[in-house]
C-alpha cells in the first residue's frame, strides 16, 4: 500500500497510540486499562506503521524481536515475584512502596505494576509474532 496521507498521519497517530498505551498501563490499577489493553494498543501502533509502509521493512527496523519482547515480559513478571519471596510473604503477594516526588505528589509503586508491565511487553511480543509470521514473505 502506498498512501502518502497514511504515511504522514501514522507518525502522529502512532505516537498517540503509544502514549495512550502507556497511560492505560499506568492507570490500570485504578481505572480501566492495564497491561493487556496497553499491550494491544502498542501492538496496534506497530501494525499501523506496517500498514503504511511494508511489514517486512517494519520487521527489519525493530530493535527488539517479537521473541525478545516476550522474553522481556516474562522476565519482568518473574522479577515482580521476587520481592514477595525475599520478604517471606506468600508467593506473588504484592509489595508496595511510596516514593515522595517533588511538588508534593506521592507516587505509589508496587510489584503489580511491574507485573502488568511484564504482561504489556509479552502481549506486544505475541501480537508482533502473529503479525510477522502471518505476513512473512515467501
Amino acid at each position: 500500500m502506498n498512501s502518502v496521507i497514511l504515511q504522514i498521519a501514522q507518525r502522529y497517530v502512532r505516537f498517540l497510540l503509544l502514549f495512550f498505551a502507556v497511560i492505560a498501563l499506568l492507570r490500570g490499577h485504578n481505572h480501566p486499562g492495564g497491561g493487556f489493553i496497553a499491550g494491544l494498543l502498542a501492538g496496534l501502533s506497530i501494525v499501523m506503521k506496517g500498514f503504511a509502509f511494508d511489514i517486512e521493512q517494519v520487521r527489519r527496523q525493530m530493535k527488539l524481536s517479537p521473541s525478545g519482547f516476550i522474553g522481556t515480559g516474562l522476565v519482568l513478571i518473574v522479577v515482580s515475584t521476587l520481592p514477595s519471596l525475599l520478604a517471606g510473604n506468600a508467593f506473588m503477594s504484592g509489595s508496595w512502596t511510596t516514593i515522595s516526588m517533588p511538588l508534593g505528589v506521592d507516587l505509589k509503586l508496587g510489584t503489580p505494576l511491574l507485573f502488568d508491565t511484564g504482561v504489556f511487553f509479552a502481549v506486544i511480543g505475541v501480537t508482533l509474532m502473529f503479525l510477522f509470521s502471518l505476513t512473512k514473505s515467501e
Binding site: 496496534l44 505509589k108 502473529f130
Partner: protein, 768 residues
C-alpha cells in the same frame, strides 16, 4: 556395603573406554572384583551368623519413606555368596567364551552391572529400593539377551522377557505401595514386625496377588514360564548366570524375604503351591522333548524354579529348609551345566542334540564333570542334589492335607528329571558318535574351570553337608521361620518312606531312560503327542497379544489423529458440548422466570444486529464481507459489555477485534481463492453441531445466573481490592494481584501459542 555397591556400579563406568591391551582383560578384572566381594561376604559370615546383621542406612527421600538402607543378614548372605561366587566363575568363563565376539566389552560391562543390580536387590532392606534394583535386573537382562541383536530371534526373545518381567515389576511396585499404605512404611523390618496388621488388612489379598505376579514372572512360573526358553538366545555366560543361578531366583528370594509377612495364610499356600506344582510339572515334562541342549536346561530350570516356589508355598519349616538347600543344589549344577552347554556349542558349533554324540573321547574332562553335575540334577547319591531331593520328599511327606497330590506330582516330575539327566549325558557324551559341524577338542582350560569347581563342590558338600547346613541354612531359616528346627543334613537316613520314594523315583527314571534309548520311536512318539496336546504355545499367544495390542493402538491412533483440523474441531465441540449438557441437566433445578427480563430496547436491537451479522457471515459469498460481519459481531458484543459496565472487557474486546480485522486485511491477498467447498450435507451437519454447542453455552449462561453458591467470591474481591491491593479497578487487581499466578500462566500460554504460530509458518516455508 554401600561402598561395595558403588564399586559394582562405578567400576564399569570407568572401564567403558580402555586402551586396547587393557580392554581385553576387562572380564578378568571383573572376575577379580567378584572374588573380592565373595571373600568380603565370607569375612562377614561370623557377624551375620545366628541372627545378626550388618546394616547401612543413608537417607534418600525420607519424606516418602524411601531410604538407601542395606542389610546383610543370612538370607542376603546366601544370595550374595551365590551371586559373587558363581559370578567369579562366570567371568572367567566369559573371558574365554566371548573372546572372538564383537562387543564383548559392552557384554562384560552389562554382565557386571547386572551382578551389581542383583546384589543391590538382595541387600535392599527398603522395598522401593529393592524394586529399583529389580527393574535394573530386568533391563540388563533385556540388554544381555539381545546381545546378538542382529538376530531377529534374539530381539524377539529379549522383548518378550522385557515385557513380561517388566509387567511383573510394575505389579510388584503396585503391591509394595498398596501394602506399604497399611503400615506406612516400605521397610521390610517394619513389615515383618507388623505382619499381623498386613495380613488382616483389606489390602492383603490384592497386595499379595500383585507381589506374587512380580515374583512369578521373574521366576518364570507357569503360565509366564515361556520367556525363559526364549532367553536362551543369549550368549552362554548369560544363560549360566542370569537364567539359572541368579536373576530367575530373584522371585524366590522375594517370596522367602516376604513370607514372614505374607505367608502363613491359606491364600498364600494355595496360590503359591499351585503355581509351583504346575511349573514343576510343565518344566520337567517339556524338557524331555527338547532338541536344543540349552532348551533342555531351560526347561529343567523351570522345573527347579517350580520346586522352589512350591516349597515356599508349602510353608513349613522343613519345606523352607529344603528350598534353601535346593537353591544351592540347583545353582551349582545348573550354572555349571549351562557353562558345559556353552562349551559344547563353542567346540562343536551346534546346540542340536541330534547332531551331538560320543563326545566323551574328544572331551573326557568335560564328560566326567558333566556326569557328576547330572547326577546332582537327577538327585542321585552321593551328590548334593540327592540331599536336596530327600529333604524335599521329606517336606512333602510331612505336609498336612494336600500332601498326597503334591507328593505324587513331585515324584512324577522327579522321575522325568532322572530320565532327562541320563538322556542328557547319554546323548551328548556316550551313544554313537555323530558328525558335528566342528570337530571338538578340549583346549582352553578356562572353559572347564567353572563346571569343574562347581561339580567338585556339589560332590564335596554332598559328602559333608554339615558345612552348608550349620553355617548358612539354619540361620537363614530362623529369619524366615521363628521356630527352631533341627534337621541334620546327611546322606543316609535309613529305610524310611522317603528312602523308598527315592528308590522308586530312580528305578522308574532309569527304566524310562532305557526305554527311550532302546526304542528311539518312543521319544519321537512322545514329541508328536506333545505337539498335539500343546498346540497352543504361550509364547505365541503372548506374541499375538502384543501384536494385537500394537495393531489396535495403531488403528486407534490413526482414527483419532487423522490430521484433519475440521474433524478435530468437530470432535472437540461435540464431545465437550455433550459433557456440558449432561452436567447442566443433572445440576440442580431449572428456573426460567427471571431469565428473560426486559432489557432496554437498544440492547435488544444490538442483539438482533449481532445475530443478523452472524447469519450474514455464514452465508456471504465474499471474504471481505465475512470479515466485516465478524467485526460487527465483535464490536456489538463489546457494546453489550460496556452497557453492563465491564469497561476493561469492552476495551479489550474492541482492541482484539480491531487487531483481527487489520491482520485479516493484511494477509487477505495471500489467501487462496474464496470458495465454498462444503457439500450440502456437511453444511447441515455443521449447523447441527453449531446449534448443539451454541445452545449449551446459552443454557450454561442462563443457569449461571440462578445457581447460588454459598459464598460469592466477587464480594470478597470488591471488599479487599482497595484495602489490601491498593487498586480501585477490581478487574485489574484480580488480574495482576489476586490471581496473578493465573495471569502468569496465561501469558506463558499465549507466548507458546505465538511461537507455535511462528513455527507453523516457518515449517511450511521450509517444506516449500
Amino acid at each position: 556395603m554401600l561402598l561395595l555397591l558403588l564399586i559394582f556400579f562405578l567400576l564399569p563406568l570407568l572401564m567403558i573406554r580402555l586402551p586396547r591391551f587393557l580392554s581385553e582383560s576387562r572380564s578378568l578384572v571383573f572376575a577379580a572384583v567378584q572374588l573380592g566381594a565373595f571373600l568380603y561376604f565370607l569375612f562377614c559370615l561370623n557377624g551375620v551368623h545366628s541372627g545378626g546383621f550388618i546394616e547401612s542406612v543413608h537417607p534418600w527421600i525420607p519424606e516418602l519413606g524411601i531410604n538407601i538402607s542395606l542389610r546383610l543378614d543370612t538370607l542376603s548372605m546366601i544370595f550374595g555368596l551365590l551371586i559373587t561366587g558363581i559370578g567369579f566363575l562366570i567371568f572367567l568363563f566369559a573371558h574365554t567364551y566371548m573372546k572372538h565376539y564383537d562387543g564383548r566389552g559392552r557384554f562384560s560391562i552389562f554382565l557386571f552391572l547386572f551382578s551389581g543390580a542383583m546384589l543391590g536387590l538382595v541387600l535392599s532392606e527398603n522395598l522401593v529400593l529393592m524394586f529399583i534394583f529389580w527393574e535394573l535386573t530386568t533391563v540388563l537382562s533385556f540388554l544381555l539377551i539381545s546381545f546378538f541383536n542382529e538376530k531377529g530371534e534374539a530381539r524377539k526373545a529379549a522383548f518378550q522377557s522385557l515385557f513380561l518381567t517388566g509387567f511383573g515389576g510394575l505389579s510388584l511396585l503396585a503391591g509394595i505401595i498398596l501394602l506399604g499404605t497399611v503400615v506406612n512404611s516400605y521397610s521390610v523390618t517394619e513389615w515383618v514386625a507388623r505382619a499381623d496388621e498386613i495380613r488382616e488388612s483389606r489390602e492383603y489379598l490384592p497386595g499379595l496377588v500383585l507381589i506374587l505376579l512380580g515374583a512369578f514372572t521373574k521366576s518364570a512360573q507357569f503360565p509366564f514360564h515361556f520367556w525363559l526358553p526364549g532367553a536362551m538366545q543369549a550368549p552362554g555366560p548369560v544363560s549360566a548366570y542370569l537364567h539359572s543361578a541368579t536373576m530367575v531366583k530373584a522371585g524366590f528370594y522375594l517370596l522367602a524375604r516376604l513370607s514372614p509377612v505374607l505367608g502363613g495364610t491359606s491364600e498364600w499356600v494355595y496360590i503359591v503351591s499351585l503355581a509351583g506344582v504346575l511349573t514343576m510339572l510343565t518344566g520337567s515334562y517339556l524338557a524331555i522333548t527338547q532338541r536344543d541342549i540349552k532348551g533342555i536346561l531351560a526347561f529343567t530350570t523351570i522345573n527347579a524354579l517350580g520346586v522352589l516356589v512350591l516349597l515356599m508355598g508349602i510353608d513349613t519349616g522343613l519345606s523352607i529348609k529344603a528350598a534353601l538347600l535346593f537353591l544351592f543344589v540347583h545353582a551349582f549344577y545348573k550354572a555349571a551345566l549351562f557353562m558345559v552347554a556353552g562349551t559344547i556349542e563353542k567346540k562343536t558349533g551346534t546346540r542340536d542334540i541330534a547332531l551331538l554324540g560320543g563326545l566323551r573321547k574328544q572331551m573326557p574332562l568335560t564328560f566326567i564333570f558333566t556326569l557328576l553335575l547330572v547326577l546332582s540334577m537327577a538327585g542321585l547319591p552321593p551328590m548334593l542334589g540327592f540331599l536336596g531331593k530327600e529333604l524335599i520328599y521329606e517336606a512333602k511327606v510331612q505336609l498336612p492335607g494336600i500332601s498326597a497330590v503334591v507328593l505324587v506330582l513331585g515324584v512324577i516330575s522327579n522321575i522325568f528329571m532322572v530320565m532327562i539327566s541320563l538322556l542328557f549325558v547319554y546323548r551328548i557324551f556316550l551313544g554313537p558318535a555323530v558328525k558335528s559341524p566342528k570337530v571338538p577338542d578340549e583346549r582352553g582350560t578356562m572353559l572347564i574351570l567353572g563346571p569343574a569347581i562347581l561339580a567338585i563342590l556339589s560332590l564335596f558338600l554332598g559328602l559333608f553337608p554339615g558345612i552348608l547346613g550349620n553355617t548358612l541354612i539354619e540361620s537363614a531359616l530362623s529369619l524366615i521361620r521363628a521356630e527352631e528346627l533341627q534337621v541334620k543334613l546327611k546322606l543316609w537316613h535309613g529305610f524310611n518312606q522317603v528312602f523308598f520314594l527315592s528308590l522308586f523315583t530312580i528305578i522308574a527314571g532309569v527304566s524310562l531312560f532305557m526305554l527311550a534309548v532302546r526304542r528311539p520311536q518312543f521319544l519321537a512318539g512322545w514329541t508328536k503327542i506333545n505337539e498335539r496336546i500343546f498346540f497352543i504355545r504361550p509364547a505365541d499367544v503372548f506374541e499375538k497379544m502384543i501384536d494385537g495390542f500394537v495393531r489396535f493402538s495403531d488403528r486407534n491412533t490413526g482414527r483419532m489423529q487423522h490430521g484433519y483440523h475440521r474433524w478435530y474441531i468437530l470432535t472437540i465441540f461435540v464431545f465437550s458440548a455433550g459433557n456440558i449438557w449432561f452436567q447442566v441437566i443433572y445440576t440442580r433445578g431449572w428456573q426460567t422466570d427471571a431469565a428473560f427480563s426486559l432489557q432496554p430496547f437498544y440492547i435488544s436491537g444490538l442483539v438482533f444486529v449481532i445475530i443478523a451479522a452472524t447469519v450474514f457471515s455464514t452465508l456471504s459469498a465474499s471474504r471481505i464481507a465475512t470479515i466485516v460481519a465478524l467485526g460487527v459481531i465483535g464490536y456489538g458484543i463489546s457494546l453489550i459489555y460496556l452497557y453492563y459496565s465491564a469497561v476493561d472487557l469492552a476495551i479489550t474486546q474492541i482492541l482484539v477485534e480491531t487487531l483481527i480485522v487489520v491482520m485479516f486485511v493484511l494477509v487477505l491477498q495471500r489467501l487462496p481463492k474464496f470458495a465454498k467447498l462444503s457439500t450440502r450435507r456437511a453444511k447441515w451437519r455443521d449447523l447441527l453441531v453449531a446449534l448443539f454447542f451454541g445452545s449449551v453455552m446459552t443454557v450454561v449462561a442462563i443457569k449461571a445466573i440462578h445457581l447460588e453458591f454459598s459464598q460469592s467470591i466477587s464480594d470478597y474481591f470488591l471488599e479487599k481490592s482497595y484495602l489490601e491491593a491498593f487498586g480501585k479497578n477490581v478487574v485489574n487487581v484480580i488480574l495482576v494481584d489476586f490471581r496473578a499466578l493465573d495471569t502468569l500462566g496465561e501469558v506463558v500460554v499465549l507466548s507458546i501459542a505465538a511461537m507455535g504460530v511462528a513455527m507453523l509458518f516457518t515449517f511450511k516455508k521450509n517444506k516449500a
